[in-house]
């Protein structure tokens, strides 16, 4: 059986890959993709802890389900905001939303 530490290492690496992308990306859609990576890393952690340490309960499982749903909602709203920004400013990089009011 694979030790739980392996899952935790994968989750850590994926999380910080996401953090790296979040810092280094200029594009808003790229930022959003990095956030998805981070959320996935957290999900792996929840599920691995649930499966290995408390296999008879499903708290982490349910929590991951809720995280997936909230991620979907967040992505939908963020993409609407990005499209609005693009229509107003003409491009979708981070620099273009330095000012929020006209």
């Amino acid at each position: 059986m694979i030790p739980v530490q392996f899952y935790l290492v994968i989750s850590t690496l994926l999380f910080f890959i996401g953090v790296f992308g979040f810092i280094s990306r200029k594009n808003l859609i790229g930022l959003l993709m990095s956030i998805e990576l981070i959320l996935n890393a957290v999900n792996i952690n929840f599920v691995a802890f649930n499966r290995y340490l408390f296999p008879n309960q499903i708290e982490g499982y349910i929590y991951s389900l809720f995280i997936i749903v909230v991620a979907a909602a967040e992505t939908a709203v963020a993409i609407a905001i990005i499209m609005n920004v693009y229509r107003r400013m003409g491009n979708e990089t981070v620099k273009s939303i330095k000012e929020l009011k006209n």
């Binding site: 530490q5 910080f16 890959i17 953090v19 389900l65 979907a72 967040e74």
Partner: protein, 179 residues
């Protein structure tokens, strides 16, 4: 203890896919390629869930993430981004700083984990052959007792409704302003 079993090989492949495609998705300059690599990463994560024999979670991951969210991303890229013309050029200094920050984070977390975290897995579960009962998931999501989650479920429903309305309002604002 055998080292090369089918389980371990599949796990190694999945971890390579998840980490490699995640890294490529962050590093690539073209957004469409990034979306494709993100898709592979999400499928790999679903594979990890299957490895722990959490079937329903893997299905939810595939249908919501790889099916829904990624489709949103691709629509946004096609609608917003000028493909091919505007590949982003990130300054090298920013990338270096981001790399240093990420590396420090990885070092801290892994050191903490291996120094202080001695997780002893339940020895009775040698192989994860049994999956979670679907009835149990349903009762947990829609029950009102202890360790049951009806209230968060309803709150999620309200969140989704608010999200739909909010997305519509935000995306339509320009038209109203013109009138």
């Amino acid at each position: 203890m055998e080292l090369i079993t089918a389980n371990n090989i599949i796990f190694a492949l999945l971890s390579v896919v998840v980490l490699g495609c995640g890294l490529l998705s962050v590093l690539t300059e073209k957004l469409m390629h990034a979306a494709f690599y993100l898709f592979l990463t999400l499928v790999g994560v679903a594979g990890l869930y299957l490895q722990m024999s959490y079937d329903f979670l893997a299905a939810a991951q595939l249908s919501v993430y790889a099916g829904g969210i990624l489709m949103l991303f691709i629509f946004a890229i096609v609608l917003v981004h000028k493909i091919g013309e505007n590949s982003e050029h990130v300054r090298m200094g920013k990338k270096v700083w981001a790399g240093i920050a990420a590396f420090c984070g990885i070092a801290v977390v892994l050191c903490t984990m291996f120094l202080f975290g001695n997780f002893s897995a339940d020895p009775s579960t040698d192989q994860f052959t049994e999956t979670v009962n679907m009835e149990l998931i349903g009762r947990t999501l829609l029950g009102t007792g202890k360790h049951q989650y009806l209230l968060p479920f309803e709150a999620t429903g309200i969140l989704l409704l608010a999200c739909i309305i909010g997305a519509l309002v935000i995306a339509n604002k320009e038209k109203e302003d013109k009138e």
